[in-house]
């Protein structure tokens, strides 16, 4: 029987602990070879650690995007070579899946569910409000690049529509007032560049503010 490493227990309930528990972005360990031109050491290390897995391409692309925030087009050649694929095949996979990005994203990503259940609960009006608030369309970003706006087709919170996610953390029963409370601090960050902290998209603490007062339109 294998005795794989257990996940570290996380002592607190807070989402702050979630962020703190985020694994180090860059894997340890040195590379045996110098990475090819345009490929940073992190990408090269991830390629090396994933190449032998069956069906390695998706897990590898996830690992690269999780570490760097996007998949640099310059790394396509190295990925293709390591996995014995053509560049076209790798490019094809990256561009096929909506989750993968090939450019630096905005500091925070706001995903707004556009599917039927959220439409049944005022999702279109909420999306209009968000577009107006951020001054951008879907797949665009606020002028300061503090928040990027993406559509998502279902977060699995359909009994509590409408739902959104900020940096992968889901929030349900949204109203324009509640979304503003979540967006305000993210947009304020850009005004004070020194306060920008990676991962501060966790806005769970805001939910400690009174909810019932917000119910009124």
């Amino acid at each position: 029987m294998r005795s794989d490493a257990m996940p570290d227990p996380v002592p607190a309930f807070t989402r702050a602990a979630t962020v703190a528990a985020k694994p180090p972005a860059k894997p340890a360990g040195k590379l045996a070879t110098t990475p090819p031109d345009g490929v940073d050491a992190c990408t090269a290390a991830l390629i090396a650690s994933h190449a032998a897995r069956p069906g390695a391409l998706l897990p590898l692309l996830h690992a690269i995007q999780d570490a760097l925030g996007f998949i640099a087009p310059e790394s396509v050649g190295a990925i293709a070579q390591a996995l014995n694929l053509s560049r076209a095949e790798v490019h094809g996979v990256i561009t096929y899946y909506p989750h993968f990005r090939t450019a630096v994203p905005a500091r925070h990503t706001l995903e707004v569910c556009r599917a039927e259940s959220c439409q049944a609960m005022g999702g279109d009006a909420l999306a209009d409000h968000i577009r107006q608030r951020l001054g951008c369309e879907f797949h665009g970003a606020h002028a300061t690049r503090a928040v990027g706006l993406e559509a998502v087709y279902c977060l699995g919170l359909c009994a509590q529509s409408p739902a959104i996610a900020i940096d992968g953390i889901a929030h349900a029963r949204m109203t324009p007032a509640r979304i503003d409370r979540l967006l305000d601090p993210l947009l304020a960050e850009s005004k004070d560049a020194s306060s920008i902290v990676q991962g501060s998209g966790d806005a769970g603490h805001l939910l400690q503010a009174s909810h019932r007062e917000q119910e009124a339109p």
Partner: protein, 542 residues
């Protein structure tokens, strides 16, 4: 993207910290769910507030992070264990916590948010929970909790049986694929069992992309071991030693929970090279999707697992003959696998005795959209849609009359009120030109514009089509244009004829359900709600 929070199971905590207070009164157990549905409305902050308040008052409590009971309009649903009976309070927000302590909720006292004993709440009491028997009751990662409520009994039985015997039990139970296609599970397994190959795979389709569905997510987050057990039994049945769980990237909490559960199960000997010292081997890993809806189609999912674009394969060969990496593969939905342990534990007849017609057992229905009491309702097949909408769902959330219900996800038909007496089983829905699918219902009130919903169905297909077959790839875009012309009144009756012809081509000419079922919501909207498409007389004349 943030790494989701994985709460440590209480077993692990207890093993390192022996409880020395056994002689005094044990701490009162308070349950605060860790399901995404609860986290998304502030459950972490509620749990923290309860801990802080108890500490400030010098009270000893044990906060358990359980799965969700599925009463989702009441989330965050906090429960207090009072002499072995759990009392429910909800929806609780952090600012309510002080008042709950003041009222004496730790003693199960009355409060504006109190609902009495959880099990007696009619929404829960009227359900028949087979697959979701433990969800919401246990700490999802606690192997002790799982075993205490009949966990791994099905696996232990399976280890004493031959592959043929396991397959026979699953066949006899009448279990059909819960992902939507409803193919008999036993027959699929038998094909894989009989396929000659030294390597076979078990694949779980956890790419739950349908709007209005969340049963897979709730099960993975609330009772991951039952899924692991079901997949292991499938491996024993067909002679496969490795499995993949393909989970959509939109479900980070489910992925984290499954990965933690797999590690714990492996450590305890339920997975690995020698399962429960039987000499049999089976292991699992989680693979993450990347936002493609069509990867919920089984062959597209296999392509994606192989590291390719999630493009649909032509069938035959069936995945059961040549599936993942060209090997015989059992690919089933989360709920299908999770329904297997109870069949092996209680017997095929026990499961088969529930249900109606050729739809045996139970289905977790998911009540979503504009309903007052949205949530998960596991019932035997045969409950009527009307009962689900009104007896369970409580009618619309908005207070306006309900007008349309989409059953079975984005590819399911919109049903008007006249059809709501339909019993919910596969054949009855098919008789109405609809599908039961994965059991999701999305309700709309009378403010809905059904032409807009028809257009959305085509637009969604255009966004998500894998592009392999022409009817789906091009038909969906043409469909959006035609609906726009109908709504604008441009040659309306001719355009309606054109839309019907286009839908006919898509139904009969597409490779998979994406293209062949997109016409279901479109045509049902047109047929049942012609007034939304413009001049009703013209519509009916067409």
């Amino acid at each position: 993207m943030n790494t989701p929070h994985v709460f440590p199971p209480r077993d692990a905590a207890n093993s390192t910290m022996p409880d020395l207070r056994v002689v005094s009164a044990p701490p009162i157990r308070v349950f605060v769910p860790r399901d995404t549905a609860a986290l998304a409305v502030g459950a972490d902050a509620v749990a923290q507030a309860i801990c802080d308040e108890a500490a400030a008052r010098g009270l000893s409590i044990d906060v358990v992070r359980n799965g969700s009971r599925g009463l989702l309009w009441l989330e965050t649903l906090v429960e207090v264990d009072r002499l072995g009976v759990r009392h429910a309070y909800g929806p609780v927000y952090p600012e309510d916590v002080g008042g709950l302590f003041d009222a004496g909720f730790l003693q199960g006292a009355a409060h504006a948010l109190a609902h009495g004993p959880t099990e007696a709440i009619p929404y829960l009491a009227r359900q028949q929970r087979f697959t979701f028997a433990r969800v919401g009751i246990t700490d999802p990662l606690s192997l002790d909790d799982y075993a205490a409520l009949d966990g791994f009994r099905g696996l232990r039985n399976a280890l004493m049986q031959s592959g043929e015997e396991i397959v026979a039990a699953v066949t006899e139970s009448g279990l059909r694929g819960r992902g939507g296609a409803a193919f008999p599970t036993g027959i699929k397994w038998k094909t894989v069992l009989q396929a000659p190959s030294d390597t076979k795979y078990i694949v779980c389709n956890a790419d739950e992309g349908d709007s209005g569905t969340f049963a897979d997510r709730m099960l993975m987050e609330g009772d991951p071991y039952v899924l692991i057990e079901g997949m292991t039994i499938a491996g024993l049945a067909v002679g496969a030693e490795y499995g993949y769980l393909y989970v959509r990237s939109e479900y980070p909490q489910a992925i984290a929970t499954l990965e933690a559960a797999i590690a714990l199960a492996r450590q305890a000997g339920y997975l690995g090279a020698d399962i429960l010292s039987s000499g049999r081997s089976f292991d699992l890993e989680v693979r993450k999707g990347a936002g493609s809806y069509v990867c919920g189609e089984e062959t597209a999912l296999l392509e994606s697992l192989e590291g390719k674009r999630g493009v649909v394969r032509a069938k035959p060969p069936l995945p059961a003959v040549a599936g993942l990496f060209g090997r015989p593969t059992v690919i089933n939905n989360v709920i299908t696998f999770a329904s297997v342990p109870i069949v092996l534990d209680r017997g095929a007849a026990f499961y088969r005795d529930a249900g109606m017609g050729r739809s045996r057992g139970t289905l977790p229905f998911q009540l979503a959209g504009n309903l007052k009491q949205g949530g998960l309702v596991e019932c035997a097949f045969g409950v009527t849609l009307h009962d689900l909408l009104y007896e369970f769902g409580g009618g619309s959330a908005s207070g306006r009359p309900l007008r349309a219900v989409q059953v079975g996800g984005p590819l399911g038909a919109y049903l008007p009120a006249a059809q709501w007496n339909v019993p919910m089983d596969y054949e009855s829905l098919a008789g109405l030109g609809g599908v039961l699918g994965h059991g999701g219902l999305v309700a709309f009130d009378d403010s809905v514009d059904m032409a807009k919903m028809a257009r959305y169905a085509m637009a969604f297909c255009a966004v998500e089509s894998c592009g392999k077959c022409t009817p789906c790839r091009i038909g969906s875009t043409r469909g959006v244009e035609v609906v726009d012309k109908i709504v604008a009144g441009q040659q309306r009756s001719r355009q309606i004829q054109l839309l019907r012809s286009l839908c006919d081509t898509m139904v009969n000419g597409s490779l998979c359900a994406m293209g062949s079922m997109t016409p279901y919501p479109v045509l049902s909207a047109l047929n049942h709600f012609p007034e939304d498409f413009g001049d009703a007389q013209h519509v009916q004349a067409a």
